[in-house]
Amino acid sequence: MKHIRVGGEDFDTGTCLQELEALGGGGVASFTGIVRGGNGLISMRLDHYPAMTEAQIGKIVDEACARWPLLGVTVIHRVGELHPGDRIVFVGTASAHRGAALESCAFLIDWLKTSAPFWKKEHFEDGHSDWVEARAEDDTALERWK
């Protein structure tokens, strides 16, 4: 099962897990990314490159399936306007063994951070807004998978 979804709607992480739990594997791992508040953040807008996004996520999912024996992968990424506490991204993996599920889940989120065409713009209480800068530590996180 490969399930990729990019869109504005929220999603139910419990349902996502249940689908992965039903695949007959012994382990399901997940990561959910959430908009953090603080620093006066009011909202965030996620732009993407629609023609490229799902194709690029598809490539990353295929790469994970080539590296680990996975029974299922779910990747959901939201776009549009989001607020503190909102879910942004969900990555879930199912495998016969826990190591494959956990490692591939970490791999997928590391790659999504650095290789899927999304951009975040943050809007603050004082009226200013900033495009989020790519972080060197995200590139570092990726290095361990090479």
Binding site: D47, H77, V89, V132, A134
Partner: protein, 85 residues
């Protein structure tokens, strides 16, 4: 023949446009050549491409280095490093 160019995030904001079509620069022209030509227009273009370490490119939906020839590609996208996830 034309080449579609798309801009995203602050590259789009600096240029003030989602994208445009330009005359295809020929198969041998590189991504860097196209960016240099855009940058030469000055204004928001010059600003968007002033620091190329902060720009990334995708040709027909695949990330490419700037020295990549345009070849038969129909769509070039220019944008900052991605910040999803």
């Amino acid at each position: 023949m034309q080449l579609s160019i798309l801009y995203f995030a602050w590259v789009r904001e600096a240029i003030g446009n989602d994208g445009e079509a330009i005359d295809h620069p020929g198969d041998d022209a590189t991504v860097a050549d196209v960016i240099a030509a855009l940058s030469a227009r000055g204004g928001g273009y010059a600003q968007a491409f002033a620091d190329m370490t902060r720009v990334r490119a995708a040709l027909d939906h695949a990330f490419v280095p700037f020295e990549t020839p345009i070849g038969k590609a129909a769509e070039l996208a220019l944008f900052p490093p991605v910040t999803g996830g």
